[in-house]
Symmetry: C2
Subunit: 177 residues, 2 copies
């Protein structure tokens, strides 16, 4: 494994750049931004013995109360077996409850409890603080640009997932107020 064709192992000493029309600047910024964005809640989660997967489940159950297991799998893009462990823990610790679907009794609608709502808020708080700080000197136009950009980064066919915000309270992204 050590002495093959020596030519193939010649080190390249020049840095890769945006030369090839590749946007390394934003690729890298996105990596750093997300790394630190997720580091905030990770600290809190550790106290509960939870991981990032628990956070994601908790977030979406709070955002779309009553969503079914299948819908949650679709949003998270993980398998049923992968969700099972995490969801079971959240149910056993009374952060989430399951209710039988009203129309289709096979379905399990997922709802947060007061405890689950509180944890979701606690996890989101430092993230929101970070966003607010990042937008500090920005106007509405700049904020809109950023929202538009992030939305455009999502796969077109999955963009529908974003706007599924229950009509009950919000009425902001629904256009039907």
């Amino acid at each position: 494994m050590t002495d093959q064709s020596p030519a193939a192992r010649k080190p390249i000493r020049t840095a890769i750049t945006d030369e090839d029309g590749i946007d390394f600047a934003i690729i890298e910024l996105f990596f750093f931004a997300y790394r630190d964005f997720t580091s905030d809640p990770d600290q809190i989660l550790a106290d509960y013995g939870f991981g990032r997967a628990h956070h994601r489940v908790l977030h979406f159950v709070n955002r779309r109360p009553g969503l079914t297991v299948a819908e949650l799998l679709d949003v998270l893009k993980i398998t049923k077996q992968s969700l099972a462990r995490v969801l079971k823990q959240l149910i056993d610790t009374d952060h989430i409850v399951q209710l039988q679907g009203p129309r289709d009794r096979r379905q399990r609608e997922l709802y947060p409890t007061a405890k689950g709502r509180a944890l979701a808020l606690a996890l989101a708080r430092p993230q929101s603080r970070r966003i607010r700080a990042a937008l500090e000197d920005s106007g509405a136009a700049e904020r809109a640009s950023i929202e538009r950009f992030l939305e455009a980064m999502v796969d077109p066919e999955l963009r529908a997932q974003i706007n599924i915000v229950p009509a009950q309270t919000s009425g902001k992204r629904n256009g039907d107020h």
Copy 2:
């Protein structure tokens, strides 16, 4: 485990919203954007038997050729043991080579090979394409807003890591061209 204080298990039926001053809109957009942003290279990596960790190592070795193991650990924010396996695989497959540090012979400077450079480019290409599409109708001002935002999302004390782009070729983010 099923029949505790029933009050604690009462489902909350209303969605969490931006009411509490928490910016759920951007939190969620950021999740979806990053989920799909990383899904592009994941597909390619699978063909090589590599994972996301290999991508990150490959990216930074190409971006900052000659960086040491310690510097790489600092950028990735993982432990030495965690890096070891991934780095060893990339070296064994001739994507990366190690050179003894010129001044300090304890150090191992990491460089990409032609093969490693090619793979890094192949992985970045779909990501860059996605970014270009997302910025399609945006002007320079909008792009600047987005870069500023992403940079501001990074921990202030770690923001220095971003601008470490070798002087050799780029000269764009260095201000010393």
